[in-house]
C-alpha cells in the first residue's frame, strides 16, 4: 500500500465512512433504494474534491451494484455517449445473478465538462438515455449553471454537495496522521484545512506531499504550498471583460470562461470601484449590475432560465458602456469586501443569529423583525436596568457569549 496515493488509500469504502454532506447521503440512499425503471436520474453537484465520486462508489458498494463509471471528458459526442451508455442502460435482468450483483449502476462524472461547441448533442443523448434507461443513472457536475444543463436538471433529482466544513476535515486529517504515524506540528493541519477551502482531495494531497518521508509535519513545509490556482482564472476572465469593446466580446468571455457566472458576477461587484474612478462610469456600471440582479431575482423566483442570457448581458453592459473613462491598473482584489468582512465577522454573526432566533421564538416574530425591532430595546433595558438582566437571560435563555455581546 505504500505507493498508493493517499486520496485512494483513504477513499471511503462505505457511505458511512464519508465525511460531511449528510443530506446528500440520505438522499442518495433513499433514491437508490426505491429506484425502479421509469424513475428520474440523480444529479450531484458541488465544488471539486467534496466527495461526489466517493459517495457514488460507496453507494454502489453498499447496495451491491456494479458501477460503470464514465468520465465525461473521455466520452463527449452524442455518438460516443450513445455507444457507451446505450447498451449498459438497457442491460437485462438476466445477467444480474450471473454477475453476483444487484445490477448495473451508471455514473457519468463531470457532465458540465462536455458541452463545448464540438460536443453538440452530447447532452441530448444523455437526456434520451435517462428517459429509457433500465438501470439507475447518476450524474455529477461542479456547477449546474451552464444553460445547456437545464434540461437535464428537469429529469433528475438534484442534490447539492457542499464544501466540507473545516472541523470535519481537520478530524479526517488528524486520523490519517495517526494511521501514518505522522506527528503534526501545532497549527499545521489547520493551515492545510484552511488552504483547501473544503476540498478534501486537495487537503489529503497537500498532507501527503508535505509530510512524505518526514515523521514530523512542520508548518514551514506547508507555507511553501500555494493555494490552488482559483483566483488566477478569474483575473484572466475579469481582465478580458474589462478590455472588451463590445457586448458580444464581453459575453463571449463569460461563455468561454471556466468560472461559473455567479463567481464572475460577485467578482465584478467586488472590483468595479477599483476599476472605475469616475463617478459617472461607476454609476453606470453599477446601474447595469443592479439590472442584471433583477433578472437573477426573477430567475430565482420563477426558475425562468431563459432570462439568464439577459442577466449575463446586463451584467457586463455597464462595463462596456462605461469603458472609456478613467481606469486604474489591472490590480484585482480577491476576495474583497464582503468576503473579508464575512470572514472577520463570522463569530459576531453567529451571536446575532442566536439572539435573533431566541427573541423571534419567544415573541412570535421572524429573525429579521427580532433584529430590527427588539434587539435594541433589549439592549437599552439591560443597559439602564441591570437588575433586569437575570430575568431577561432566564426568559430568553441566551448563552453567556450572547449575553456579553448584548452588554457591549
Amino acid at each position: 500500500m505504500k505507493d498508493v496515493m493517499w486520496t485512494e488509500k483513504y477513499r471511503p469504502k462505505s457511505i458511512c465512512e464519508i465525511i460531511g454532506n449528510e443530506e446528500a447521503k440520505v438522499a442518495i440512499v433513499k433514491w437508490l433504494k426505491n429506484w425502479v425503471p421509469g424513475n428520474e436520474g440523480f444529479l450531484l453537484w458541488g465544488p471539486p474534491g467534496t466527495g461526489k465520486t466517493s459517495l457514488v462508489q460507496a453507494a454502489a458498494h453498499d447496495f451491491q451494484y456494479q458501477l460503470i463509471e464514465m468520465n465525461a471528458s473521455d466520452v463527449r459526442t452524442e455518438k460516443q455517449i450513445s455507444r457507451v451508455m446505450g447498451p449498459a442502460s438497457i442491460e437485462g435482468s438476466l445477467d444480474k445473478a450471473f454477475y453476483g450483483y444487484r445490477g448495473l449502476l451508471l455514473f457519468v462524472d463531470e457532465i458540465d465538462g462536455i458541452f463545448g461547441r464540438e460536443d453538440h448533442g452530447g447532452m441530448a443523448a444523455i437526456q434520451k438515455i435517462l428517459e429509457v434507461t433500465r438501470v439507475p443513472i447518476i450524474l455529477a457536475a461542479n456547477s449546474t449553471q451552464r444553460e445547456a444543463l437545464q434540461p437535464l436538471i428537469h429529469c433528475c433529482q438534484v442534490v447539492r454537495f457542499q464544501r466540507v466544513r473545516p472541523p470535519v476535515l481537520l478530524a479526517l486529517l488528524k486520523n490519517i496522521c495517526r494511521l501514518e504515524g505522522i506527528n503534526a506540528e501545532e497549527g499545521a493541519l489547520e493551515m492545510i484545512t484552511e488552504m483547501s477551502q473544503g476540498d478534501v482531495r486537495s487537503a489529503i494531497n497537500d498532507l501527503q506531499s508535505t509530510s512524505s518521508g518526514a515523521v514530523t509535519l512542520r508548518r514551514e513545509n506547508i507555507a511553501g504550498l500555494f493555494a490552488r490556482d482559483r483566483p488566477a482564472n478569474i483575473s484572466e476572465t475579469l481582465n478580458s471583460i474589462f478590455a472588451a469593446q463590445t457586448l458580444r466580446e464581453a459575453k463571449k468571455v463569460i461563455d468561454e470562461s471556466d468560472m461559473d457566472y455567479e463567481s464572475i458576477y460577485q467578482a465584478l461587484h467586488d472590483n468595479l470601484p477599483f476599476r472605475f474612478r469616475d463617478p459617472e462610469a461607476l454609476a453606470t456600471a453599477y446601474d447595469y449590475l443592479s439590472k442584471a440582479d433583477i433578472c437573477f431575482g426573477e430567475i430565482k423566483k420563477t426558475q425562468d432560465w431563459h432570462l439568464l442570457s439577459y442577466a449575463l448581458e446586463l451584467m457586463v453592459s455597464g462595463i462596456v458602456l462605461a469603458k472609456d473613462s478613467a481606469k486604474e491598473n489591472n490590480h484585482f482584489h480577491f476576495p474583497h469586501g464582503r468576503f473579508v468582512m464575512l470572514g472577520r465577522s463570522r463569530a459576531t454573526r453567529s451571536l446575532l443569529d442566536e439572539l435573533a432566533q431566541k427573541i423571534g421564538f419567544r415573541y412570535h416574530v421572524s429573525k429579521r423583525t427580532a433584529t430590527e425591532d427588539y434587539l435594541n430595546v433589549v439592549k437599552v433595558i439591560m443597559l439602564n436596568h441591570p437588575e433586569q438582566k437575570p430575568k431577561i437571560s432566564e426568559q430568553l435563555s441566551f448563552s453567556d457569549e450572547a449575553q456579553s455581546y448584548l452588554e457591549g
Binding site: 461587484h269 468595479l272 470601484p273 477599483f274 463617478p279 459617472e280 461607476l282 454609476a283 456600471a285 453599477y286 446601474d287 449590475l289 443592479s290 439590472k291 440582479d293 433583477i294 437573477f296 431575482g297 426573477e298 430567475i299 430565482k300 423566483k301 420563477t302 426558475q303 469586501g337 464582503r338 468582512m341 464575512l342 465577522s345 459576531t348 454573526r349 446575532l352 443569529d353 435573533a356 432566533q357 423571534g360 419567544r362 415573541y363 412570535h364 416574530v365 421572524s366 429573525k367 429579521r368 423583525t369 433584529t371 430590527e372 425591532d373 427588539y374 435594541n376 430595546v377 433589549v378 437599552v380 433595558i381 443597559l383 439602564n384 436596568h385 433586569q388 430575568k391 431577561i392 426568559q395
Partner: protein
C-alpha cells in the same frame, strides 16, 4: 399568553383571547363566527402591515380552536426563517402525524405560517400541496404583509382577513393604558413622537415606549428621540456622507459592515436612509433627486437577488451627486 412576569411589554400585554383584542372589530366578529365549528372552518389568510395584530389574532384563534392543550397542537413557523419548502414540508408532515394521534383525542391541529409572502412562488405551490394533503387534520393560518404576493390557488383556499393599520388614536390609547399599568410618566409630546414614528405599527410603538421609559424617568419627545437616534446609528449618516463626498469604497465598507456585522436587512437600511435623506444638509433639488433614486432602488431591491449589490449600486448613484453638494 400574557404573563405578569414577562419582560417585554409587547408580550406582557398581548391579548390572550379574541375578546380582549380591542382593534380590528370587524375581523374579530367574522372570525368568531367561523370559529364556532372549527372542523368545517377553511384555512385562514391574514394580510396586513406589521404590528396590526395578525400574529396575536392567529394565536388567539388557535387557542380557541384547540382549547386547553393548544400549546401541544400548534406549530408556529416563520417562512422567512425556515430554510426551504422541504423543511416546512417535513416539519408540517411530522407535526400532523404527532399531534393528531388518537392519544391526544383531538381531531385538529393548527399550523401558523408567518411571513408567507416571503416564499417563492415555487415554494408556495408546494405549500398548496401540503395544505391539501393535510387539510383533514390541520388548519393553516397563513400570515402575510401583502396578500398580492400569495399565489391565487392558495388565496382561493383561504378565508382572507385584511388587517388595517391601527389608527393613531387607538395606538395612543393603548400606549397610555400600558404606561398607566407600568407606572410610566408618558407626556403628550412623547406620545406624539412615538405614534408618528410607529405609523400604525403597535409592536413598534410599544417597543419604543418601553425603551424610552428605560432610558428616562419621564417619556417626552427628547427621550423618544434619544432612543430612535440610538437605532438610527450614525453609521447610516456616515455612509451617505462618504458617498456624497465621492468616497464610494468607504461608503460601501460601511454598508457591508451594517449588513454583515450588524445584521440589518436591505429594506431596513433603505428605510433608515430614507429618514436621513429627509434631514440631510443638501440643496433641495439634490434631496428630491436622491429620493427618486432611493425609490427606484427600493423597488429593485424587492425584485432583485442580492441586497448588497442593489445597495452598492444605489451608493454608486449617490456618488454622482458629489459635485453638487
Amino acid at each position: 399568553m400574557a404573563q405578569e412576569n414577562e419582560v417585554m411589554w409587547t408580550e406582557k400585554y398581548r391579548p390572550s383571547s379574541l375578546d380582549d383584542v380591542v382593534n380590528q372589530k370587524d375581523i374579530i366578529k367574522m372570525l368568531g363566527a367561523l370559529l364556532v365549528s372549527p372542523s368545517t372552518m377553511p384555512h385562514l389568510l391574514f394580510a396586513g402591515p406589521p404590528g396590526t395584530g395578525k400574529t396575536t389574532v392567529a394565536l388567539c384563534a388557535a387557542q380557541k380552536i384547540l382549547g386547553q392543550t393548544w400549546r401541544n397542537n400548534i406549530l408556529e413557523l416563520n417562512a422567512s426563517d425556515e430554510r426551504g419548502i422541504q423543511m416546512i414540508r417535513e416539519r408540517v408532515k411530522n407535526f400532523s402525524r404527532m399531534a393528531t394521534g388518537r392519544l391526544s383525542g383531538l381531531s385538529i391541529n393548527v399550523v401558523i405560517l408567518d411571513e408567507c409572502d416571503q416564499m417563492t412562488s415555487d415554494a408556495q405551490t408546494a405549500l398548496r400541496r401540503i395544505m391539501e394533503v393535510s387539510s383533514r387534520n390541520s388548519r393553516f393560518i397563513l400570515i402575510a404583509n401583502y396578500s398580492g404576493k400569495i399565489i391565487e390557488p392558495i388565496q382561493s383556499r383561504c378565508a382572507i382577513f385584511r388587517f388595517l393599520p391601527l389608527k393613531r388614536d387607538d395606538v395612543a390609547q393603548y400606549l397610555q393604558e400600558i404606561s398607566h399599568k407600568e407606572g410610566v410618566k408618558l407626556l403628550d409630546d412623547g406620545l406624539n413622537a412615538i405614534t408618528t414614528f410607529a405609523n400604525g405599527d403597535l409592536r413598534r410603538a410599544i417597543n419604543t415606549l418601553q425603551a424610552a421609559s428605560a432610558m428616562e424617568k419621564a417619556v417626552d419627545e427628547r427621550a423618544v428621540n434619544q432612543f430612535l437616534g440610538e437605532i438610527d446609528k450614525s453609521d447610516i449618516k456616515k455612509m451617505i456622507n462618504k458617498a456624497l463626498e465621492g468616497d464610494f469604497r468607504g461608503a460601501r465598507e460601511t454598508l457591508f459592515s451594517l449588513m454583515f456585522n450588524k445584521g440589518l436587512s436591505g429594506s431596513e437600511i433603505i428605510r433608515q436612509i430614507h429618514r436621513q435623506i429627509l434631514v440631510l444638509d443638501v440643496p433641495e433639488d439634490v434631496r428630491i433627486e436622491l429620493i427618486r433614486v432611493l425609490g427606484e432602488y427600493d423597488f429593485r431591491l424587492l425584485e432583485g437577488a442580492n441586497e448588497d449589490i442593489q445597495l452598492s449600486a444605489f451608493l454608486a448613484q449617490v456618488v454622482k451627486f458629489c459635485r453638487r453638494v
